[in-house]
């Protein structure tokens, strides 16, 4: 038996699980309020743009999205297995590619802001 390489992904999964547990419900509340037009002053271009244009804001956004993606991707890989799909390698390629794509897009978008 050899030591596994799973720690790469599991590390991101665990970090993502923790970060999403703390921040995602509140973020969803904000987008929910925005969707409900609960308060027209929130989720405005100016406020968000200001945050995203700030270097630390960029870093925070990138960090949150990065670990959320990889958390979800890794757990999805396990879940697909739990549902009986016995194609772990292929599933891993798909879900990690999705996460990679999301990461790349985030990077591009952030650099353009």
């Amino acid at each position: 038996m050899a030591k596994s390489n799973k720690p790469i992904f599991w590390g991101l999964f665990a970090a993502g699980g923790t970060i999403t547990a703390f921040v995602t419900p509140a973020l969803v509340l904000i987008t929910l309020f925005a969707a409900m037009r609960f308060n027209m002053d929130m989720f405005t271009y100016d406020s968000i743009h200001a945050f995203a244009a700030w270097w630390l804001g960029k870093l925070i956004i990138f960090g949150v999205i990065l670990v959320s993606l990889w958390h979800a991707a890794h757990r999805l890989r396990v879940t697909v297995h739990d549902f009986g799909v016995r194609a772990d390698k292929q599933v891993a390629i798909v879900v990690y590619s999705l996460a990679g794509l999301g990461t790349l897009l985030t990077l591009i978008f952030l650099l353009r802001i």
Binding site: M1, A2, K6, P7, A14
Partner: protein, 251 residues
Amino acid sequence: MSELQQRQIQLEVLRYNPETDTAPRYQTYSVPCLEEWVVLDALNYIKDHLDPTLSYRWSCHMAVCGSCGMMVNGEPKLACKAFIHEYKEGQIKVEPMANFPIERDLVTSVEDFITKLASVKPYLIPKEDKPVSAGEFKQTPAELKKFKQYTLCINCMLCYAACPQYALVPEFLGPAAISMAHRYNQDSRDGGRDQRQEVIASDEGVWECSFVGACSEVCPKHVDPAGALQQIKVASTIDWYKEHLMPWMKK
């Protein structure tokens, strides 16, 4: 102290004899149970009075030898700690431990677990050599407490019967074997973690675990194997990042 209450219970037992059966079948026995009895007492009643051919393992009758693990109404239990008074219905279903091959009636095959337990080097690999004549290794109560709960495993294998990942991937080392490795890793006298990592940090080791947590829920001795596995994952991940991203940190 009140008089002892008695109640007639229908015990539905899964039976299988490889010499006469092609597949397991249920057999129901009507047993006059005292309320203070455990399911094992009911099985012993059957064995002595109704059907001497029923086979099951048991010994201590005090939840420490780990022989009598079985499924009681679908839940992994020690038969000697499954109290009749907790089953309000008139019927109790008793089956051999899930996830293990049935050898005969309620007797399952133990070999897979024993092999896996042995593979994790579940013994002290001393950090330093010390002859017996030099006396004991010192260990403070706090150092003892750090690993103590993991020493309480009685190898009853109920955690394997509860673990769906073991059911789906039989190569998985499983809860009890890995938490026993953790027990030694956490022991202040031990220096064998690196040797054990080769086995427990493999794909068939902790990484097959998805933290269902069922093992810890069913453990009759309140060991927390699920916790041990997560702690190993955290430590192994830190190892990996140190090794690959900060190679200069390597010893």
